[in-house]
Amino acid sequence: MAGSPMLEALVSLPLDLLRGLVRFVRRLSANKPGFVGFLGLLLYFFVTFIMPNFVEFDNEPKLDQITGPIGSRIQLAVHRDNPQWDSLEALAGKTVGVVDQTGGPSFIEPWRDTLTVETYRWTSRRQGPGIHAALTDLANKEIDGLLIFSKTVNQAIVKQEDAELRQLFQDNIIISNPALGYPHLLGTDTQGRDIASHMVHGGQILILTALIGGVIATLIALFFGSLSALAGGLLDKFFTALANLFLAIPQFILLVVLAGMIRFDSTLYLGVIIGLLIWPALLRAIRAQVLSLRERDFVEAARSLGLSMNHIIFREILPNMSSYVLINLIFSITIAMYFQIGLVVLGLAPISDYTWGVMIYFGRSRGTLYNQDGATMALAPVLAIALFQVCLVLFARAVEEVFDPRLRSAG
């Protein structure tokens, strides 16, 4: 049994693959930026495909954490006389206040058995009694501690417009533990939810869809673009006209109409429709490349040697424009990512998939860009997409060099 070729293949195939991979990585590491790009892509894969299993999507609106700045967190406020109460353990048996509908109630949940929880009703951020009532009670030692969000501390105590309250708070209240809760690495969104958790969960579908869309667009463009340039004649006319047709029809209008008729809830469909919509410009570009390559000396030479069309395409033309195709594939992937935002806007893609695209769209339409604290909601995903493209570009050139020895010597 041990000698069975089937089994041998089964064992050796993964081994071979692994060996190939190791060789590939070793070659990659010779090219520093390329290696950085490779590591970057690995990081993207890890964050968007692995981490969602460990990080929970924060879906709980927290009214006092709306557009919290980067690194903001829940703090523990106590009376000035009791600075030693700097943790919930230290407050065992005491009364701790939380305000309804903020991050406090869920944070204090595990400690409910060891201490008394006083819940204040949420009313309003600036002037309402909710947080102010809690702070006043703390200043008057009615309660022993208060869980309060760092941004709220700033607003309710430091920036307090009511002079009398400001005096009372500043005289009596101190923050005994400024780092009680976990920090919101990227701040919080317009509903007080953790942006970092949305970043982790929002990449997977977006990236998959964009890869599908970008690859489909590139394949269509590559195939029909080369075909049309090489075959010429009627075929060329037909594909150029078709590409023009697609380019000229205002896609926004087309999508508005489509949105009224169909819905794309599957990642695959979404990717396919995007691919089908963004190929025409690429086709024209590739056709131009092939037209130019077609007439160059080495192709002429191959032709005069009577080599087959297959040989000319796959051995002469494709390798010589692989760099160009690769970079356009990357552009297509990025275009596909932003294209999805357009589809979200029109309701063609569901918002229940809270992707980076949805974040950018809502971040912009809810005015977060104009607020220093909240700008991460839109800028974090934009940055993520831009850096993804950087990684792809760096990686792509390393791949080029791995497969094209001439480049390595040139570098």
């Binding site: 879906n59 609106p61 009214l63 709306i66 557009t67 509908q101 949420w122 009313t123 309003s124 951020r125 600036r126 317009t190 509903q191 007080g192 508005v256 949105a259 009224g260 819905r263 979200v344 806007v345 029109l346 309701g347 569901p350 918002i351 229940s352 809502f362 912009r364 339409s365 809810r366 005015g367 977060t368 104009y370 607020n371 220093q372 604290d373 909240g374």
Partner: protein, 575 residues
């Protein structure tokens, strides 16, 4: 190549320097904003679509007859000096003497005649109860009414006056014709294609056509016009654009007052810059509409349970910050209107549907529903409570409300999928009953209470009849309802409540509407939208926010800012 590069850099630097050059406006300028279209699309025929009408700021150019003070319910005369019902049930107004249009002609009864004759040509609603219009003397006009009503009074008095010197010709010809005449449609077409060469103002400011760019336009003081003698500004600069476009100008202090709805995040930034946010109730806001043809949303228990299950305070706050104020009385009107029109006894009787998951649970149990092993609700047929909730994607506050309501209902055991729909598609979907749950507006920015019900009982319920296309039945709610007070047709009652001039009679009809709505919840109001006007008091001096004038939020008419300008109160802050 380096030389060329240097040249290009030098050019770019020069451009940069130009950009720094500060722009000095001469005299005192009031800086406000409203979106408009530039010529040739935009034009000065304020009767035709595409005209540069500038929203509520039209009052500065074409002054209103009167302004309703919302806090007291009294009209303050503007161009109309005296007005009221005569003994025969006709409405009479007298125009103030001594004012003139910017082209030199005097403001007289002729202008009123011209304005209303063109309304007749256009088929405006004001003529629904009007049988004729009569010039009594040079300054007095009598409106012959078939039935006096507070609604008709309101429509007449909120009219912006147009100059007879511009529109008189078409108006006179229209007055001599009837809609059945051959030339009627041609005249209508002539009106819509009519392009006055320059704007003519009867108010305190005149548009300067040469200053119109897509960025802004200037209005110059018109000293002879209405209220032109009491102005504190020489110019008004009207910036063009929607929220995203005007926001940087406010932050930059180039623009000092906007009425645009701004997102709470932006609002916070403005507040940090010392810009005041002025909030006035708008008598409307988003509500959760259900399709009454979809089982079990047609069950009143289910709708009540939904009302209990959604925390409206949270929903309002995450959607529009402090301008998203949870609805308390759930009467289909704003809380302000409820308090103004309903007796204390009635108010006490109303169910306020405070956030209460237990009550919601009981209601669903009582309807024979149960939870499955996962805690999700199933109706009495064993089907999950799975619905699609649509909302207009482009409306930042409504989309947030939808997102939040969905999350809350799903926490409670519903299975709701939220879906954004392009904002122009969305109302069409509702009209044609192509929805299960949807976020649309309840209420109306109007002080007449019965009109608040037009949304639920007319616009979103069988508006196909209005459009004359049989477009669909909308939310499929049967307007013949039976409630604790008996059986009524809610649409008829809401119409009747804005007829007549007897406030007692109106109040009794309104309370029928309020109670039946509160019991049946045809649609579930979420929160009332308050304005969040950004007002930079470092530049503009107006009364303190506690002043009763701020009750006039102004949705096209009765705006507090234009009222304060027309009464000469608004002034530069450094004066």
């Amino acid at each position: 190549m380096i030389k060329r590069f240097l040249l290009v850099s030098a050019l770019l630097c020069a451009l940069g320097m130009l950009a720094f050059a500060p722009v000095q406006a001469e005299g005192e300028t009031l800086s406000v904003a409203w979106p408009y279209q530039v010529p040739p699309t935009g034009h000065f025929n304020t009767f035709a679509s595409g005209g540069i009408t500038l929203g509520q700021y039209m009052d500065l150019h074409e002054p209103p007859l009167a302004v309703l003070m919302w806090a007291t319910g009294e009209y303050a005369g503007m161009v109309a000096e005296e007005f009221g019902w005569d003994d025969d049930g006709n409405y009479v107004i007298k125009v103030a003497e001594g004012y003139s249009w910017s082209d030199g002609s005097h403001i007289t009864a002729d202008d009123v005649m011209a304005t209303f004759n063109i309304f007749r040509l256009r088929g405006d609603a004001v003529w629904a109860n009007m049988t004729g219009i009569e010039k009594v003397d040079d300054y007095t006009v009598k409106f012959h009414m078939s039935a006096p009503s507070s609604l008709a009074e309101r429509i007449i008095l909120t009219t912006n006056l147009r100059p007879a010197s511009v529109f008189g010709d078409i108006a006179d010809r229209a007055a001599m014709m009837s809609p059945d005449d051959d030339g009627w449609n041609d005249l209508l077409q002539e009106l819509t294609e009519f392009r006055p060469e320059s704007p003519v103002s009867g108010g305190p400011y005149t548009i300067l056509p040469d200053t119109i760019t897509e960025a802004s336009l200037m209005l110059e003081l018109n000293p002879g016009g209405f209220a032109g003698d009491i102005q504190n500004y020489d110019m008004v600069q009207m910036w063009n654009g929607e929220t995203e476009v005007v926001t940087p100008l406010v932050a930059n202090a180039e623009l000092h007052y906007i009425t645009h709805g701004i997102p709470p995040t932006t609002e916070e930034d403005f507040a940090n810059r010392g810009i005041d946010i002025v909030r006035s109730g708008m008598n409307n806001g988003p509500g959760l509409y259900v399709n009454h043809d979809v089982y079990p949303l047609n069950m009143v228990e289910v709708r009540q349970a939904i009302a209990y299950a959604i925390d409206r305070i949270q929903n309002g706050f995450v959607s529009l910050g402090e301008s998203g104020v949870a609805v308390e009385y759930m009467t289909g009107m704003s809380d302000g209107l409820s308090e103004a029109w309903l007796s204390d006894d009635t108010l006490d009787m109303l169910n306020t549907y405070d956030h209460d998951l237990m009550k919601a649970e009981e209601l669903l149990m009582s309807a024979g529903f149960s939870r499955d092993d996962m805690g999700n609700w199933m109706d009495d047929n064993g089907d999950a409570l799975a619905f699609e909730l649509t909302f207009p994607q482009e409306y930042a506050d409504w989309s947030a409300a939808a997102e939040n309501a969905t999350a809350q209902l799903n926490d409670f055991g519903f299975d709701i999928t939220a879906r954004g729909v392009q904002f122009q598609q969305h109302p069409q979907d509702i009209y044609s009953s192509n929805f299960e749950m949807a976020i649309r507006n309840w209420g109306l920015g109007d002080p007449i209470p019965g009109r608040s019900y037009l949304q639920a009982y007319n616009r979103y319920n069988g508006q196909g009849e209005v459009a004359g296309e049989g477009a669909g039945a909308g939310m499929n709610f049967d307007n013949n309802v039976s409630y604790s007070g008996g059986m009524i047709n809610v649409f008829d009652v809401s119409n009747a409540s804005s007829q007549g001039t007897d406030a007692m009679e109106q109040a009794s009809l309104v309370s029928q509407l309020a109670i039946s709505y509160n019991e049946l919840l045809p649609a579930i109001p979420l929160w009332e939208r308050y304005t969040n006007n950004a007002l930079n008091r470092n530049f503009i001096m107006v009364p303190d926010s506690s002043d009763s004038v701020f009750a006039n939020f102004g949705g096209g008419a009765d705006n507090w800012m234009t009222y304060l300008i027309l009464t000469g109160v608004t002034a530069p802050a450094d004066m």
